[in-house]
């Protein structure tokens, strides 16, 4: 038997569980200078909005002990520019094409998905960003309310049959109710988790390091939180989970999958070691071969005490 690292997220087949997380790979141009992105299961575009966004002013990054805060604020060229200039390019990369959709209101998400729906041959999944903590309205403020999540998901479901992945925020008391709301609305999968809201203080100026005051915390520090949320949601969901949060190694990927993820997203690690998916892929292949198993069979094999 030849072991395989291919996985399935619902009906979508991916050659690898590794997907580049939105906001840490732009549209693939820069990282493709470092390695052949066709080894990946997919790449999720920078979060897109209807109009171009300049993003937040000032200092956007603060280093922390085991991760970083960012407050980019969804800087992006706008969905029309993306369709015109980047969508075809993403389709040349040889991996799954996931388009990340952000908005400030229900109407924004509807408009965005309506614009993208005609390109279903070029889009493997729409990742609905209900979780960006760095914009004043929409995104996370919608994604913390299960009723809103269900409503917006079912609205979008009625517009397109492109797989809908709902990317959820960890900044909630009960992640299960949010994931179940996405499932109820007709989502094909949930992505767990986006960044955690955080703050860093400059002790000399007594001001926040970030000009936006707060930012999204990412990196290895949030991995245990993400794993816990994946595990909790796996126990109650019927739809698949894409795990995300602090993944740096093949072992991290395996942890997520055992806890219940069908695929994973690599985010902040790409900022530090751009070609890290090459080593992670090799590690996964070695693990599967060494254990004579297909990676997809690992999902949800966690035995709780």
């Amino acid at each position: 038997m030849v072991s395989s690292i291919a996985v399935k997220v619902g009906s979508l087949e991916l050659k690898s569980p590794l997907i580049l997380a939105s906001g840490t790979c732009n549209f693939g141009h820069e990282l493709s200078e470092y390695y052949d992105l066709s080894i990946l299961g997919g790449i999720s575009s920078k979060g897109l909005t209807i109009k171009p966004r300049a993003g937040n002013p000032g200092v956007r990054v603060a280093e922390c002990r085991a991760g970083m805060l960012n407050s980019v604020g969804l800087q992006n060229p706008g969905v029309d520019f993306f369709i015109e200039n980047d969508l075809d390019y993403m389709n040349t990369l040889g991996c799954g094409v996931i388009v990340n959709v952000a908005g400030h209101s229900e109407d924004d998400y509807v408009t965005m998905v309506t614009k993208l729906a005609p390109y279903k041959d070029k889009i493997d999944a729409l990742e609905i960003n209900l979780s960006c903590p760095n914009v004043k309205s929409g995104c996370m403020s919608i994604g913390t309310d299960p009723n809103e999540i269900a409503k917006i998901t079912s609205l979008l479901r009625s517009i397109t049959d492109i797989p809908l992945w709902i990317k959820l925020t960890p900044n909630v008391t009960d992640i299960k109710s949010c994931a179940l709301a996405a499932q109820k609305g007709g989502a094909d999968a949930v992505v767990l988790i986006n960044t955690m809201l955080g703050m860093a203080v400059n002790i000399r100026t007594r001001r926040p390091v970030l000009t936006n005051n707060t930012g999204g915390y990412s990196g290895p520090a949030i991995k245990p939180v993400a794993i816990r949320m994946v595990s909790e949601c796996y126990q109650v969901l019927d739809i698949p989970i894409i795990g995300c949060g602090g993944i740096e190694s093949a072992e991290d990927v395996l942890e997520f999958m055992i806890a219940g993820a069908s695929a994973v997203e690599i985010g902040t690690a790409s900022l530090i070691h751009p070609a890290c998916p090459v080593d992670i892929t090799a590690g996964l292949e070695k693990y599967c071969a060494g254990n004579s198993l297909d990676l997809k069979d690992l999902t949800g094999t966690l035995q709780l005490w």
Binding site: G55, C64, G67, Q75, I272
Partner: protein, 255 residues
């Protein structure tokens, strides 16, 4: 096109130029032979993110790349302690460098850690035979590094060279001997603003190398933005210091 990579390379030389500024040589032929002045490297330390440094020089044989490390925090403190033989992980060369061919002569202005990339520009211009002047600005004599007797030296405190800012140094130049000149400046923001304004007054183009807090250094996180004038609703776009720069046209930056 997968032509870039993260290098594992060795430190081959190290000296302190001042008590808090180290100058290290890194053996990395692939990066050293392709680096151009204005570009930078991003080096791992035990902190979470890499640390960016402007390329200060490359050896004549194209094997060794030099950087200056001014200690400003824990990451730079650790990196300044590197010794010959130590191995580092490095992304290089990064960013877009200076245009060193489009003008007939160059006036280089530097201060702070800007003396490092300007040193590389000076060496490159000199070996290409271009007419070049260097104006260095420091706080006082104890800060003076990478100085050459041919440079115009200025210090705020006046204990070395001309007393005053780099503008006093620029004013001392005979511009008639610099045909079709460009001003290149790397230093603190006030210095770059002043040098750019001086260049405009004298009808010269000025290019500056910007510094911003960086996440990745390769253009994917969009953290290190520089506001650049644009013909849109906002009147500007946020470009990436690391990928679209760090060199920008002074006249295009929103200061």
């Amino acid at each position: 096109m997968t032509e870039k990579k993260e290098f594992k390379c060795r430190i081959v030389s190290k000296e302190f130029l001042t008590p808090d500024t180290a100058y290290i040589g890194i053996e990395c032929p692939e990066a050293a032979s392709s680096a151009v002045p204005g570009q930078f490297v991003n080096i791992s330390c035990s902190r979470f993110l890499k640390r960016p440094f402007g390329v200060a020089s490359v050896s004549d044989d194209g094997r060794i790349l030099y950087i200056g490390i001014k200690v400003v925090g824990k990451g730079t403190e650790e990196l300044s302690g590197l010794m010959p033989g130590d191995e580092i992980s490095m992304l290089a060369p990064l960013g877009k460098g200076f245009d060193l061919t489009g003008f007939d002569s160059y006036i280089l202005v530097s201060g702070g850690t800007g003396v490092f990339p300007v040193n590389f520009a000076y060496e490159t211009l000199k070996s290409s035979g271009k007419k070049v002047a260097v104006v260095q600005g420091f706080r006082n004599a104890s800060q003076v590094i990478l100085n050459d007797p041919s440079f115009v030296l200025t210090t705020d405190e006046g204990d070395a060279g001309i007393k005053g800012t780099c503008i006093a140094g620029l004013d001392s130049l005979d511009l008639n001997s610099f045909p079709n000149a460009a001003v290149l400046c790397v230093g603190p923001i006030p210095m770059m603003k002043a040098a750019g304004a001086w260049a405009e007054e004298h009808g010269l183009k000025c290019f500056v190398s910007m510094e911003q807090r960086m996440g990745c250094g390769i253009g994917i996180c969009l953290c290190c933005i520089v506001k650049v004038k644009a013909d849109n609703e906002d009147g500007y776009v946020n470009l990436r210091c690391c990928k679209d720069g760090p060199v920008f046209d002074y006249a295009e930056v929103v200061w």
